[in-house]
Amino acid sequence: MSLHFSGNRALILGGTCELALALAQSMIESDLFPILTYRDDKGLNAVGESLQSFHGKYDTCYLNFGDRDSLESIFSQIGDDLNFLVDFAQGNYESFIAGADEDSVYSYFMENISFRAEILKRVGRVMLKKRKGRLIFISSAAAAKPNPGQGFYTAAKLASEALYRNMGLELGERGVTSVILRPGYIDAGRGKIYLQKQDQKILEMVPIKRAITGGEIAQTILFLLSDSAAGINATEISMDGGLTSGK
């Protein structure tokens, strides 16, 4: 199936994670132009290494969640030319709620929810001018089925999902739509480390008995960005091999 896209410039938040880099490569191969955000030199180098054979076919920009100046500079760089947003960005704060550090909780929610709302406001206004745009938030199966210690992570994911869902509700009639993808256990990035720690036993709980690959996630996101998926709006899709459907 060949995919057609309305526009080609895509801002990828959290652009240095393994999934984002896999997506960027798939995007470039589909003639899209990814703009990947990074927050330190290590991330910038990771992008350079991963996409070294695609010089001139992507861009990078600095964005540190919670740093409003960095947000301002991104929009100076991008201007009004943006068609897609794919959001992988997510800080992690693992703690029992009854044992959490209050300051960490406040800053975690500010960075992962309030700051994201500001990004969505800015991106939404850029897309509104074009009356076209697609927003994809990469959530997590933890939004439906958290483990102990994941309360803050899950709360931030669910709140962010709500922001994305409402963007699609509010701006859908003006051509700006959204979709949320909830991957389950992934054989890439943080997921890979977690699976290694669990000695893969946890995959026995997944009906398909395996992790989702980074390539599968990238191809699914590409489909969700395409015109073929335009009818999927303001909703979430689970991609967890059936993990959250059963007991």
């Binding site: 009004d80 206004r125 509104l128 001018k129 509010e170 701006l171 009639e173 003006r174």
Partner: protein, 123 residues
């Protein structure tokens, strides 16, 4: 720059109005049927065309009723209280809005002109 002519053009485009008389006294919501999403798009377009920072709460007088209630609650002069928060309106216009506010949203094209003019002076 003829701010009124430019705003008229923007409103006609966004609300898909043809052969409709628009004057500075035209009410956006009551006369033209503008909805929330139209106002949001209007703010974005005004920002883009005039190259000015637009605060939706200000340009659309969103907090007018709230400020009015706050002033009464604090025992302060309502017109002055609102004028400080919406300096582009002028006291006469504030009094005019207060006199008609029970009839529905009072946002007029002239208020947009005042806001854009005020913001352009700041640039």
């Amino acid at each position: 720059m003829d701010i009124f002519a430019e705003l008229k053009k923007i409103v006609e485009e966004l609300l898909d109005l043809e052969d409709r008389e628009i004057t500075p006294e035209t009410l956006l919501v009551q006369d033209l049927g503008a909805e929330s999403i139209d106002l949001l798009e209007l703010a974005v377009t005004v920002n883009s065309r005039f190259k000015i920072a637009v605060k939706d709460d200000e340009i659309f007088l969103t907090r007018f009723r709230l400020y009015s209630a706050e002033a009464k609650q604090r025992g302060q002069d309502t017109v002055h209280y609102i004028a400080v928060r919406y300096p582009f309106l002028g006291e006469e216009r504030i009094e005019d809005i207060m006199a008609h506010i029970k009839e529905g949203p009072q946002l007029k094209i002239r208020d947009l002109i005042s806001y854009v003019t005020y913001r352009l002076q700041e640039v």
